[in-house]
């Protein structure tokens, strides 16, 4: 009998304790951030949308290798020495590869930051930009290349011409030089 009244009382009093706590919280300063008007400052290392600085990218393919979800697509063409249009990287070295295609599918990207870590020239970076939702998934397919398709065919033609000329000149040296592609993983390893 006493236990019964104790139970009833503890049920009643513990509810009152809870109500007291919630009542106190009615008048506490609120923590809501009214999002589009107020924003939360993200830390500088926050991993959101990727940004590519084309003047730094040397087309080494390390980011493609590092990416766990294969969302980066890179295609390169070797710079022909005969090309009148020569470029210099941000770090002062001459460009060896034209990056004819650098495409990131943000619908696939998992924002792990491994590409950023793998990049030897600091060309690809996560930014704090996070408001880029789209209604159409295709619009999340970002193309970072700066060359137009016409320029790309031009570069390819120049390289082919140069190779043909080179081949005529000396078969032996071209064979030693081999294809430009196998050099890429070596670069990545360094």
């Amino acid at each position: 009998m006493i236990q019964y009244f104790k139970n009833v009382w503890s049920g009643f009093s513990s509810s009152l304790v809870g109500m007291h706590i919630t009542f106190k919280h009615l008048f506490v300063k609120k923590v809501t951030i009214q999002y589009p008007d107020q924003r939360f400052d993200l830390p500088q290392n926050a991993r959101n949308r990727l940004k590519l600085t084309m003047s730094r990218c040397n087309g080494c393919n390390s980011c493609v290798v590092a990416c766990p979800v294969n969302c980066i697509l890179v295609e390169t063409v070797r710079v022909s020495p005969d090309d009148p249009h020569q470029e210099v990287h941000d770090n002062g070295k001459p460009r060896i590869m034209w990056v004819t295609k650098y495409e990131i599918d943000f619908a696939k990207c998992c924002y792990c930051g491994l590409c950023m870590q793998a990049c030897p020239t600091d060309a690809i970076n996560h930014t704090t930009e996070y408001e880029y939702s789209e209604y159409d998934r295709n619009k999340l397919y970002y193309k970072f290349q700066t060359l137009t398709p016409e320029q790309v065919t031009e570069k390819e033609r120049l390289l082919a011409e140069f190779k043909a000329k080179d081949k005529d000149k000396d078969c032996k040296t071209t064979a030693a030089k081999a294809d430009p592609k196998p050099t890429k993983p070596d670069q990545a390893e360094k």
Partner: protein, 350 residues
Amino acid sequence: MESTNFVWDLMGRNLGGVLIVISLPLFFVLLYALIAILAELKISAWIQERLGPMRTGPWGILQPVAEVIKLLQKEDITPDQSSKLLYNLAPFIIFTGAYAAFAVIPFSEAFVPADINLGLFYVFAIGSISAMGIVMGGWASNNKYSLMGAMRSVSQLISYEIPAAMAILSVVVLASSMNMQEISRAQGGGFWNWYIFGGPGTWTKIWVVPFTFGLTIIYFIASLAETNRVPFDIPEGESELVAGFHTEYSGMKFAMFFFAEYANMFVVAAVLTTIFLGGWNSPFGDFMQGPWWGSFWFILKSFVVVLFQIWIRWTLPRFRVDQLMYVGWKVLLPLSFVCFMAISLFVMLK
């Protein structure tokens, strides 16, 4: 004032007058439901240190309107395997049950839609209609969750009506009337004359005060259960039954359930106000007393009770179905009987 309904005085008892009398509480319910929904949103937010709705209208005050418009636009789904007639009828029955109780609510000295002698009895009888609506809706949905919710709901409503009835009976004993206007009138002259403090009388009433105070709390708890509010919201306990008896409802029919819930909250708050908190009487005797002030006091007191219901909702966890029965039958019922006996004894010896 002679009459208890100012509309009769102004218009006479004709069709126009009747229509106005019917529609006045309806407008009030709709307006009140919007305010109560906003209060629910805002109070829950403040308790949880949030701001609540802020972007619909200034300070978010148009949020309930936006929600009603959203519900109106939504697709009205009737499940294929449901019992169509009962399924479509249930929300209206529930709302009718909630709204019909407004017929005897004494809003003011000068306005009670129907001044009948069995007012309290009528509120109780009509209140059970919503149980029928719930069981209809739950059964007709042809959904296991709905069925379980409906079963729980009905058993809950029936069990909690008894302690609530005991609380009301005690007041009937004290006031020797079931007319809600009479009961209100009896409590005039200051808050110490309210039935929560034993009703009008000399200082000898002091030993009945604990019992009437306890009865107020008992009635309040029972009313929470009758309106399916936390901690007694197991019929719609979302963590296990998804949404209970109205799982399958959408659009306007869901809005009817929603409105009915809020209307019911006001009905039980109004009954509590009338029988324990002095009805339309000013708490300070003749100060601010009168027909217009009366409606102000009545609505204010009822709204405070509604705010209490909201406050409790955001504090407590919910009971389990067997514990709910335990509280109803083994705690509230014996305690309300004890209080009832004590009050009857007091009235006999007086």
